[in-house]
């Protein structure tokens, strides 16, 4: 297992290196300069580019950047003067993370509840409504959900504030819009696996032993039904922890997604690089963590890894 983990970490580092290199040269290939602006004369732009070493060859710039990166320095933003990339990420990441975490928790809890309800309900209308709701939830993209929620509960009914993240009430609408889709997916997964698990022999045995229905459902069936969900939550967390540009800009939340899009528009090279590295590490890290967790939980997965190693 340790060898496998080491291998995964090495592969992750190599992917990160490739990501950084490709991004570096792609940003330099983009037309435009961080110092160009509507009302700034060309001579000033040139003086600034000279000052920041952007007139050197891309290879030389790349060498300088990588040297600094190895020393752990991400540099200063070109557009936000005197502000380091680290501090920009440090400000934006917790905002996005708290939003993403709340959305993941909501999706996991609500999705499980709805899935189980749909699986066990004896009323046909409930089942139809829930399956219709799941389809709808999986079909609506989060920015549409965000706009709908904003119009109905913010602008029209005025129940919740619509901009920023200042109080718990501010969280309601953005978290709901972010968790719309994952809730539907989790509900669908739970419904499918739950219904299947309920037919299995151990459930019959438990019943025969006299256990109550809910006891079996929660303590035995759900535990198994949750494994595929866990596999889905990994990539989902990575997605939510790196920020959703659409939802952040609709609700005016100063998170990573918004920062990333504006850095690209502004040609803020150092910030683009810093955010790429950060988001890349999060995605690689979270995926590694989920894989290891699954391997630890499920002997079948674990064995497949070990077999692979022997096969090398």
């Amino acid at each position: 297992m340790a060898v496998y983990t080491m291998k995964r970490i090495t592969v992750g580092m190599i992917s990160l290196f490739v990501l950084v290199t490709v991004t570096f040269f792609l940003t330099r290939m983009m037309p435009g300069s961080p110092f160009e602006d509507g009302n700034v004369s060309a001579s000033v732009t040139e003086a600034m580019e000279e000052e920041y070493g952007l007139r050197d060859s891309p290879v030389k710039q790349y060498r300088t950047y990588m040297t600094n990166l190895l020393k752990g320095r991400l540099g200063v933003s070109y557009k936000q003067q005197g502000v380091t990339v680290e501090s920009i990420i440090g400000n934006a990441a917790p905002v996005t993370a708290s939003l993403g975490a709340a959305a993941v928790i909501t999706a996991a809890v609500a999705g499980t509840g709805l899935g189980v309800w749909r699986a066990v309900s004896k009323k046909k209308t409930v089942r139809i409504l829930l399956s219709g709701g799941t389809l709808l939830g999986a079909g609506i993209p989060n920015f549409v959900a965000a706009l709908l929620l904003l119009l109905v509960f913010g602008v029209t009914l005025k129940w919740f504030p619509v901009t920023g993240l200042f109080t718990p009430a501010h969280y309601v609408l953005p978290v709901l819009s972010l968790s719309f889709y994952p809730t539907a997916v989790v509900a669908e997964m739970i419904y499918n696996t739950f219904a299947e698990e309920m037919k299995k022999e151990y459930v019959v045995l438990a019943r025969a032993k006299g256990m109550g229905f809910w006891q079996i459902a929660v303590f035995h069936v759900l535990k198994n039904a949750w494994i595929p969900v866990l596999n889905y939550l990994g990539p989902l967390s990575a997605f939510l922890l790196t920020g959703s540009f659409a939802v952040e800009s609709i609700f005016n939340i100063p998170g990573l997604g918004r920062e990333f899009v504006s850095s690209v528009m502004n040609r803020d090279y150092t910030l683009i690089m810093g955010l790429t590295i950060f988001m890349g590490s999060v995605v690689i890290g979270v995926n590694l963590f989920t894989d290891l967790l699954c391997a630890w939980l499920d002997p079948r997965v674990r064995n497949s890894y070990l077999e692979k190693r022997w096969g090398d």
Partner: protein, 538 residues
């Protein structure tokens, strides 16, 4: 089985702690004390250092927090702020300003001439990245210092004593007083303001102000809070205790926040808001000193032929164009913005002279035929490059349609990302290119100088000695009326005879202001709103 339970708990714990961590990190809401208003403005961009690379954030902040030497009110009269008087020699090359003795920084220390010089000195260092530095170049040796050819000691700015500031100019500059509202001429406290990169500007402890409000809080990307400066020399005129500025990336979010009463003022909204709020007292439409026009590349055939340029200009129906683009635009036939006022007469500059040309489809077709393209035959397909913004995309499509209909010529549209469009324009890599110019200061020179042969905004290869000579004469002319006569002459020549540009429209800005706020003024030079004398009625 216990393992799974532990794993489940572990995962939930991780998410809960991430969530909690974010909540703790989550910034507190801005503190509103006393009479307070909240204003929604665009994204947090640029430095708050007048000598740094400034953008919207500084412009919003300085209006309430910093006192320039002097400014002009809506009637064109001088309003003295940090200065209490000035004198100028007959040649208009030596300008002496006497600072207000009672003026002090928000920490109580005196504002001195050296504080003004501090900004100029730092702006002339390319490291600080000031985009307004070229407006210092009328000062003796400033340009050479910026380019590293001369040392700072040779700069034509002197401070004989703490209260006197003297500017020595290279040559007469009729609009010098108008330049004083630009950031590079504003003071920055010598004690703290050392470099645009040190972060003094956004730290409430070191970011001192000499105006009616001081910086109390700054949360990057979220908001900043200004509080009343009790040490201000004119504090009797100031009624508000707190002004909160909140940043928004998106105009629609701003309008929503106004609708849910999370902000009291929302500025620069889409024109759709104008229809939504029509007839309501919340709507405040202001005139922007800006022109949208098209640059024609004079080195690209057949745009080097003045008849073709005239034909293009005459064939566009601007009234119809504006009807489609939105209620916030009005047809423009000049380079100088429709709403720029001549301070000496109080009239709009463009209305003081005849319209440079009249639209005329028949004449346009004739001109095109004279140039060798009867009914558009053989006319090459020109490419029009423009930023992919809603307004510009609509405009491009209307122009394409009109030129097809009126001249039977084809225009290829190329929507670009904003930065790409700037880059292509600077590199002169275009045939037709969208251009927008918002006045930096209240004088037609801010527009007309762009077409000079050696100007860095002249992106369309204009090399015209006659035009250069006219503008040059206006620079040397000391008589105000004669000078404006020359400026009019130059504009008529460039826009109405040589057709160097295709003017499209002038713009208005659509704002929402809560009914409880009174006393908001408009800055004549830029058209922006000013809140320093505002008050609220509960």
């Amino acid at each position: 089985m216990r393992k799974r339970f532990v794993a489940f708990i572990l995962v939930i714990c991780i998410f809960c702690s991430v969530f909690a961590g974010g909540c703790i990190k989550r910034q507190k809401a801005p503190a509103a004390e006393g009479k307070s208003i909240t204003i929604a403005i665009g994204s947090d961009t640029g430095s708050m250092d007048p000598a740094g690379s400034i953008a919207l954030t500084f412009l919003s902040y300085s209006v309430s927090a910093l006192d320039e030497l002097l400014t002009f009110d809506e009637n064109g009269n001088i309003e003295y702020r940090a200065a209490q008087s000035y004198e100028v020699n007959e040649e208009k090359t030596i300008w002496t300003f006497h600072l207000r003795e009672e003026a002090c920084w928000s920490d109580g220390s005196a504002v001195t001439a050296a504080d003004f010089k501090n900004t100029i000195k730092r702006a002339l260092d390319p490291k600080n990245g000031s985009g307004y530095v070229s407006y210092l170049f009328p000062i003796q040796n400033a340009e050479e210092i910026y380019n590293g050819e001369l040392s700072y000691e040779s700069l034509g700015v002197e401070t004989p004593d703490e209260q006197t500031l003297v500017f020595y100019l290279e040559e007469p500059c009729a609009y010098f007083l108008d330049l004083l509202r630009l950031p590079v001429y504003m003071p920055s406290c010598e004690k703290y303001a050392d470099s645009a990169l040190s972060g003094w500007d956004k730290n409430p402890e070191t970011s001192l102000t000499n105006g009616p409000f001081f910086l109390a809080e700054y949360e990057p990307k979220q908001y900043f809070v200004l509080k009343k400066n009790e040490k201000y020399w004119n504090t009797d005129e100031i009624h508000l205790d707190t002004i909160i500025y909140r940043f928004f990336d998106d105009q629609q979010s701003m309008a929503n926040a106004y609708e849910t009463k999370e902000v009291d003022v929302a500025v620069s909204l889409q024109s759709a808001v104008m229809e939504l709020y029509e007839g309501k007292p919340d709507l405040l439409v202001t005139e922007l000193i800006a022109t949208r026009y098209i640059y024609l590349n004079l080195e690209a055939e057949p745009l080097d032929d003045v008849r073709v340029r005239e034909a293009l200009n005459l064939a566009i129906d601007r009234a119809e164009l504006c009807k489609i683009v939105g209620k916030d635009v009005s047809p423009a036939y000049n380079l100088v913005a429709n709403y720029m006022v001549n301070k000496n007469t109080g009239a709009y500059f463009v209305e003081e002279d005849k319209q440079p040309f009249q639209e005329n489809k028949e004449r346009a077709r004739e001109l095109l035929a004279e140039a060798g393209y009867p009914d558009g035959e053989g006319f090459p397909v020109l490419t029009y490059k423009y930023p992919a913004l809603e307004m510009d995309s609509d405009t491009a499509q209307v122009i394409q349609e009109q030129l097809k209909q009126n001249l039977n010529i084809d225009i290829e549209l190329k929507a670009q990302e904003l930065q790409t469009n700037y880059a292509d324009r600077h590199a002169k890599d275009f045939e037709l290119c969208r251009m927008n110019w918002t006045a930096d200061f209240a004088d037609p020179y801010t527009y007309l100088s762009m077409l000079l042969s050696n100007n860095s905004y002249n992106c369309s290869h204009i090399q015209d000695e006659k035009y250069d000579a006219l503008i040059r004469r206006s620079e040397m002319e000391l008589d105000v009326n004669k000078r404006f006569q020359l400026l009019h002459e130059a504009e008529q020549y460039a826009v109405g005879e040589q057709f160097y540009i295709i003017p499209l429209y002038g713009m208005k800005s659509c704002n929402l202001v809560s009914r409880r706020i009174t006393g908001i003024r408009q800055i004549p030079a830029s058209g922006a709103l000013e809140y320093r004398y505002a008050d609220v009625t509960e």
